[in-house]
């Protein structure tokens, strides 16, 4: 990939440093704000919280609807990831290993769904789930989100599966494995990274999406993003302390995921087609 001459010139790039700082400073400031009382945050810009307070976090953990908001969001995101992976893995395998009628165009149609604005199908989705009594459930949000996460997952997984030589399955079949067996024992372990990346992208969409998550939930499945809206709307009163604390808590799952996948992110973003 990169050769020795380039490697010896590596150090710290000023551009990259500046860019990284820019990417992080709003989040770092959010941390500051979350430890400061609202009154102070609303009138002065401090780089260090003064006075320092845990009041914002205390408030959030004491409020049922906030706590449930987090639980709900995590709930439907996990269900979304399960649905997405269950549907995408076989699909990606098919696109990678087989040619079948319409396979070229099928990939295009699949990708199309990722590009569709959620606002377009919001109302019919509400009606659809209403008629099945599924409004305000994790399932409704999870499966609606999978419309958007499955296309990217298939794209990513197809890339990863394609980079495994077909000979692997052929030898396994010769050795007597069934198709399913060789899939589980040979392919799956090798695309672990791909699965992690696909899960990451699904999380990246489902955790942050608001239009559908808001439209399909009322009380029991309301995610934290919607709860936060109550205290962060520009028309109403914006409670900066609480909103900041809520925001930091909302960033933690993403931070955890990024940490676990830190060595695989770049490869994953190239959709498995690196090298």
């Amino acid at each position: 990939m990169s050769d020795d001459v380039i490697d010896s010139q590596r150090g710290f790039s000023k551009t990259v440093a500046v860019y990284t700082l820019i990417s992080l400073f709003p989040i770092l400031w959010l941390v500051v704000l979350s430890f400061q009382p609202h009154g102070v945050s609303a009138s002065t810009a401090n780089l260090i919280p003064s006075p320092f307070t845990l009041g914002n976090y205390a408030y959030i953990f004491s409020q049922e609807n906030y706590v449930w908001g987090y639980i709900n969001a995590i709930g439907y995101v996990i269900i979304n990831i399960i649905i997405t992976l269950s549907v995408s893995i076989p699909g990606a395998y098919a696109f990678s290993r087989f040619k079948f009628i319409g396979s070229e165009n099928a990939l295009f149609f699949a990708l199309l769904f990722r590009l569709m604005p959620p606002a377009i199908i919001l109302i019919p989705l509400v009606q659809l789930f209403s008629s099945f009594g599924l409004i305000d459930t994790y399932f409704a949000v999870a499966i609606s989100h999978s419309l958007f996460t499955v296309p990217i997952s298939i794209w990513i997984l197809e890339g990863f599966i394609s980079s495994i030589p077909k000979e692997m399955e052929e030898t396994a079949l010769v050795d007597g494995y069934s198709l399913f067996g060789c899939f589980v024992k040979i392919i799956l372990p090798q695309v672990k990274t791909g699965i992690g990346v696909a899960a990451f992208f699904s999380f990246m969409f489902s955790w942050v999406e608001l239009i559908i998550a808001n439209g399909l939930t009322t009380v029991n499945a309301k995610p934290i993003g919607v709860v936060m809206r109550l205290v962060a709307e520009p028309l109403g009163f914006v409670q900066i302390g609480i909103s900041s604390a809520a925001s930091i808590l909302m960033l933690i799952p993403g931070l955890i995921l990024v940490w676990f996948l830190r060595n695989h992110l770049a490869k994953g973003f190239s959709m498995g087609r690196v090298g």
């Binding site: 990939m1 590596r10 150090g11 710290f12 551009t15 990259v16 860019y19 990284t20 990417s23 992080l24 400073f25 709003p26 945050s41 009138s43 002065t44 810009a45 076989p90 699909g91 290993r97 087989f98 079948f100 699949a110 769904f113 590009l115 604005p117 606002a119 377009i120 199908i121 919001l122 109302i123 989705l125 659809l128 499966i143 419309l147 077909k166 052929e170 990246m204 955790w207 608001l210 239009i211 993003g225 936060m228 809206r229 709307e233 520009p234 914006v238 900066i240 925001s247 909302m250 960033l251 993403g254 931070l255 940490w259 830190r262 770049a266 490869k267 973003f269 190239s270 959709m271 090298g275």
Partner: protein, 284 residues
């Protein structure tokens, strides 16, 4: 194993069912609505292309569409210029690039409502980091002015999404085999020539994917600008998605909303088709 095997459709079947039930069926319903009207929300009757005619005559609609296109054009061009520039530095000059990638991915994982919230507060002239800093130079961001609203929304979008372009391009650079760079150096190619004749062509696929994703997300932007200015002042920051949701949820006008939705969809399909054809032609 790459023979024609239509049995493979069984593997794709779950995806097909998913798309059919949760995607196509609602889209058909929306299409249906776009051709109908009702008196009291209960009895629907056919009105043909009425909503579409109204739509194309509506200056509010074209305003929202035009603003969305302008917004997308500005932010996407800036994101690609900055993104490719930073990706090159990451690839050629930065040690421990993987760590950096993890760090700059954070804006991409920030819930959209948080993005809107923090940027609104950032430009507050007294209490916001950016606003207060600017105030030291007697520049006071005022979210009642169209200029500041647009500047804030654009800055916010750049912060939010440029990293996607950076990471995608960086990954693209990783897949350019070293010998290409060596050959260019041996031939004495300038940096610009290397960029133009080796790097850019090899990045084509990645750039198109990045463009596709950015276009889609840019044209459907909703939550973030809503948090900054709620579409104001007046309608100057009302983009397509907000117009659509207003029409559907606030005005309960499902017919007009249906027409807007179909128009939106056709635009996205066109863009996707053009870019897809381009990828296909490059990978033959």
């Amino acid at each position: 194993m790459n023979r024609i095997n239509n049995g493979a459709w069984w593997l794709v079947a779950p995806a097909v069912v998913l798309f059919a039930v949760v995607g196509i069926a609602p889209l058909m319903a929306t299409l249906n609505y776009s051709f109908q009207d009702s008196f009291a929300g209960d009895n629907y009757f056919w009105v043909g292309t009425y909503w579409y005619e109204e739509l194309f005559k509506s200056s509010a609609f074209w305003g929202a569409f035009g603003r969305t296109l302008l917004f997308a054009a500005i932010t996407i061009s800036l994101q690609f210029i900055i993104g490719i520039f930073v990706a090159r530095k990451l690839y050629f000059r930065q040690v421990k690039a993987q760590m950096v990638v993890a760090l700059i991915a954070l804006p991409l994982l920030t819930p959209w409502i948080v993005v809107g919230f923090i940027w609104r507060h950032l430009v507050n002239p007294e209490a916001g980091l950016i606003g207060a800093s600017l105030s030291l130079f007697n520049i006071s961001p005022d979210l009642n002015s169209v200029w500041w609203v647009w500047a804030t929304i654009i800055a916010m979008d750049l912060w939010h999404w440029t990293s996607l372009v950076v990471i995608l391009c960086y990954a693209g650079y990783l897949s350019i085999p070293g010998p290409y760079f060596q050959a260019a150096r041996i031939d004495g190619a300038s940096k610009w020539a290397t960029f133009r004749y080796i790097e850019l062509p090899k990045l084509k696929n990645v750039l198109v994917i990045a463009l596709l994703l950015r276009l889609a997300d840019s044209l459907m932007i909703y939550t973030e600008p809503l948090m900054i200015s709620r579409g104001g002042p007046h309608v100057s920051s009302t983009f397509m998605s907000q117009k659509l949701i207003q029409t559907a949820m606030l005005e309960f006008n499902l017919g007009a909303a249906g027409a807007i939705s179909m128009f939106y969809l056709v635009v996205m399909i066109l863009i996707a088709w053009i870019l897809f054809r381009y990828i296909r032609s490059q990978n033959v």
